[in-house]
């Protein structure tokens, strides 16, 4: 929902801001480093010769059976074995974590975050998520604004979150390219990015773009204008793609200048080719259907609708297209287009066969996405779908469900060990692993999350 942060704060002079910022940031330790005491990789992580074993926990595999007393073996960053504790022998040199009475779930996946591009503290110099200078900016990339030391990342790890899509905001109809990251406590973007994850594009619709540009007496100021912008952009991209195809097909092209590159149109051409997955911020039922129609006109289909608070009204249409829905459990009423939101929407969507995920869009909610899933279950979503809504379904929307989102042999060892069932209000994430590396340990943090 972030077109702009909800409470714009006064800009301060640069020097004062810098000083204040330094003070503020120093209050929040950057990263809870949970590596081994010697600083080397923890057992189970890539580069460690030792396996990691989590023994005796209730293993919520998500895609398979729940193992009431299960054991998971992790080697070299991957899940090496999953089985009943009674059936899985423990390797002699393993680091063993006793999971008795606890719950082990896959690391949580969030398709919608602005961490890093709206880092804490939320002062204006930190706003880097919304390039609201043109209603379509498909060439800008979230990764180029990502502050890898945003203190919010630590708290998300303490909430068992391991994989996140960081998206540009929704001020533009086409906001730019998202980036899929693993929440590794590192210092460079390169170490944080999930290598090999598909490219992603953020689009929007509805009140935000028309408010931003309408407020400047520019196009778009109506929903009609919104979709005009979208169609014109893709028509230009079609012409651009045709130009390149003509050049590539020209036998004399070696002597001819290629067409000038246009990064905006290039990105949209890649969307039409299916090389970039599309995630669209939307609310109203009519817009959801219009977006399906416009996508068909240009030969692409969204991977997910984001927010999609009226999705329940057109659930059959979304199901027919096999488009995912990433939504809030109970946020509502903050805008006119959010007034018809109901907490039963995930249940209705799922009853039609739509894959539903709980997204955060917030550095606060991301810390307790398992409780957001619980709220959806309270309102009729099955407990199985509830767990999938924060693991395998968001992974599917991002095109990474072959690597994360469930506890299966061969998958990335992204895991969260919880003191109670994830839907229990009193549960706490005790340990989080990413690629087998221990990245959060409540014991080592003195019981505190950061």
């Amino acid at each position: 929902m972030n077109a702009t942060p909800s409470r714009p704060r006064r800009a301060v002079v640069a020097a004062a801001a810098a000083v204040a910022f330094a003070v503020a940031v120093s209050l929040v330790p950057f990263v809870t480093r949970a590596d081994d005491e010697d600083g080397g990789p923890t057992p189970g992580a890539k580069g460690s010769s030792l396996p990691l074993v989590i023994k005796g926990a209730t293993v919520l595999t998500v895609t398979g059976e729940t193992l009431v007393t299960g054991t998971v073996i992790v080697r070299d960053g991957k899940i090496a074995r999953v089985g009943l504790a009674s059936a899985v022998p423990i390797p002699a040199n393993a680091r063993v974590i006793d999971g008795a009475g606890k719950y082990l779930m896959p690391g949580i996946v969030d398709t919608h975050s602005h961490m890093g591009v709206y880092p804490w503290p939320g002062v204006k110099p930190n706003w880097d998520g919304n390039e609201m200078t043109s209603p379509w900016t498909p060439h800008v990339r979230a990764e180029d604004g990502l502050h890898v030391e945003d203190p919010a990342f630590s708290r998300a790890r303490a909430g068992g979150v391991t994989t996140v899509q960081v998206l540009p905001g929704s001020g533009n109809m086409i906001g730019g390219q998202g980036v899929v990251i693993k929440l590794r406590p590192v210092r460079t973007l390169d170490e944080m990015k999930m290598k090999g994850a598909p490219r992603q594009m953020k689009m929007a619709s509805g009140e935000n773009p028309k408010r931003v540009y309408g407020g400047r007496n520019q196009l778009p100021s109506t929903r009609m204008g919104n979709f005009l912008v979208l169609r014109e952009a893709f028509i230009q991209a079609q012409e651009y793609a045709a130009k390149w195809e003509r050049w590539e097909a020209d036998p004399d092209r070696a002597e001819k200048d290629p067409p000038e590159r246009d990064l905006k149109l290039e990105a949209l051409r890649d969307v039409m080719r299916g090389d970039i997955r599309v995630h669209i911020h939307c609310y109203r039922a009519d817009e959801i259907l219009t977006l399906i129609r416009v996508g068909k006109e240009f030969g692409w289909k969204p991977a997910s609708f984001q927010h999609c608070l009226e999705g329940y009204k057109v659930a059959a249409h979304i199901a027919a297209e096999d488009i995912g829905v990433a939504t809030f459990a109970d946020w509502w009423g903050y805008k006119v287009e959010a007034f018809d939101a109901i907490p039963q929407s995930p249940a209705i969507l799922a009853s039609h066969g739509v894959r539903v995920s709980m997204h955060s869009d917030s550095p606060d909610l991301i810390q307790r996405l398992y409780h957001e899933a619980a709220k959806a279950v309270k309102h009729g979503l099955s407990p199985e779908e509830g767990l999938k809504s924060i693991t395998i379904h968001p992974a599917w929307m991002l095109g990474i469900d072959d690597r994360v989102g469930s506890i299966e042999k061969g998958k990335d060892a992204d895991l969260a060990l919880m003191s109670r069932h994830p839907f229990d209000i009193y549960t706490l994430v005790e340990k989080t692993w990413i690629d087998g590396r221990l990245v959060f340990d409540r014991d080592r943090a003195g019981g505190r999350a950061w």
Binding site: R7, R9, R10, A20, A24, L27, V28, W120, P121, G122, V123, P151, A152, R155, E207, G214, N217, Y312, K313, A315, A316, D330, W331, W332, G333, Y334, K335, V336, A338, F339, D340, A341, I342, P343, Q344, I348, S351, H352, P363, D364, R368, H371, A374, K375, V377, K378, F423, D424, I425, Y426, T427, L428, R448, A449
Partner: protein, 444 residues
């Protein structure tokens, strides 16, 4: 011109949305019948504690009996079998803007902040409270039966709050107490707003100066009134000279007189430890009763707060270090204050998310607050802090029959609210949202 277009569009959209499903109407006449809730686990929140197999009897909107075991059931009484269920006082949210806002982004539906003047203690929530708000039934869905509705965060003196129950077609039916308190905002919100207008207060110094100056003027005004009253009495006795002329009424200062008299508190919104310190210091200096609200960094100055026995309306538990003044936000704030012996209530500081109050309390328990203390923080404590403990907050004879029946722990998301009584009326657990659900759940 454009403004009209935008406004028109907004209203059109709103009308469209609102017209789709009628608001849920709730019977407003108190049911004269006797209601007996029997064989429940009754959490009285009084010294009686929790009664297994207890009964609660309701008549004429009040609790007439709380008993250990079965009670005589009069002929015609409505019997609610609470076997295996928990019975609690209705939950209380000690800080909301419920009834003052419908759609956050639509200004015409917002009545929280009067932004022209930093000192408006005479503003009254009751004059903006909409008992028909669609948000009220939504808030009830998780067992919240009464709330403090406060002015917004912009004014230094933001106005007078109202304690309301979440039932009633009119303000009078909903209202339990007004003014419940005068609200003061410190920190970023007022100084940003007035600073942008190049107007005092644009700094924390400015906020404190205006705070002090306003209360000193109120004391002077009180003095003038006292002297006029004394002179009037003398005149009545002696008849000498001319009848004394009363001081010109000053509504701002008049509104503060109940605070000076100690009848109602100043509820001060402050995040940073030093802002909390400012509130405590000015409270000492000016001799007024302070209640802290939000109090994100209160855990850092718990000793100072306890020393003065200042209560804290804490939370939401989920407050994050997202702004410059909330850098010290921790989930353990409620626990730390409770351990220091401070009386706490928990708020959502919300309108749309008031229904999440049980989860805010539950999360405080997750982070160390004892369960009974968390229950008290959403029942008895807010009632005591806000001066309405004669009406709500516990299950005992003579109190309003605000009672909920839950199939488990009300703090758990998967628990189900089964019954909701407000002032003895069996309120349907329905909202605009459940009506929309019923409309769209069918697959055709």
């Amino acid at each position: 011109m454009e403004r009209h277009v935008i406004l028109g569009a907004a209203l059109g959209g709103l009308a469209c949305v609102l017209s789709m499903v009628p608001f849920v109407a709730v019977a407003d006449d108190d049911d004269p019948e006797v209601i007996v809730i029997r064989n429940g686990r009754v959490h009285t929140m009084t010294e009686t504690g929790t009664i297994d197999g207890g009964s609660v009897v309701i008549a004429d909107g009040k609790i007439t009996l709380v008993a250990d075991g079965e009670v005589h059931t009069p002929r015609g009484a409505v019997v609610i079998d609470a076997t295996g269920k928990n019975v609690f006082p209705g939950l209380i949210d000690a800080g909301t803007t419920l009834g003052l806002v419908e759609i956050s982004a639509v200004d015409v539906t917002k009545d929280t902040d009067e932004k022209a003047d930093p000192v408006l203690p005479q503003l009254r929530v009751i004059d903006g409270f909409n008992p028909d708000s669609a948000l009220i039934p939504v808030a009830r869905m998780n067992g919240i039966t009464s709330v403090l509705t406060t002015p917004g965060e912009v004014g230094l003196f933001g106005g007078q709050s109202a304690f309301v129950r979440l039932r009633g077609a009119t303000l009078e039916e909903a209202l339990i107490k007004a003014p419940a308190a005068i609200h003061v905002n410190l920190g970023e919100a007022p100084k940003s707003h007035f600073g942008d207008k190049k107007q005092l207060p644009s700094t924390r110094m400015g906020l404190a100066a205006l705070f002090r100056e306003t209360l000193i003027k109120a004391r002077e005004y009180q003095g003038k009134l006292d002297r006029w009253e004394a002179a009037t009495e003398r005149f009545a006795e002696t008849g000498e000279g001319e009848a004394p002329v009363p001081p010109t009424r000053d509504l701002k200062l008049e509104a503060l007189l109940p605070v000076l008299a100690g009848d109602i508190p100043l509820i001060v919104r402050a995040h940073r430890a030093d802002d909390i310190g400012t509130a405590l210091r000015l409270g000492d200096e000016l001799g007024v009763r302070i209640v802290l609200r939000w109090a994100t960094e209160a855990w850092r100055v718990a000793g100072e707060i306890k020393k003065r026995n200042v209560p804290v309306i804490v939370g939401p538990t989920t407050t994050q270090p997202e702004t410059m003044e909330t850098q010290g936000a921790i989930y353990e704030n409620a626990k730390r204050l409770h351990e220091a012996g401070i009386k706490i209530a928990i708020q959502t500081a919300s309108a749309h998310n008031v229904r999440n109050l049980p989860y805010e309390a539950g999360l405080a328990v997750t982070y160390g607050l004892p369960y009974e203390a968390a229950l008290a923080a959403v029942t008895r404590n807010p009632a005591e802090i806000l001066g309405v403990a004669d009406r709500v907050g516990t299950l005992e004879k003579g109190k309003d029959a605000d009672v909920i029946v839950v199939d488990g722990d009300p703090f758990q998301p998967l628990s189900k609210l089964e019954k909701l009584f407000i002032g003895g009326v069996d309120v349907p657990i329905r909202s605009r949202q459940t009506d929309l659900y019923e409309r769209y759940r069918k697959k055709d």
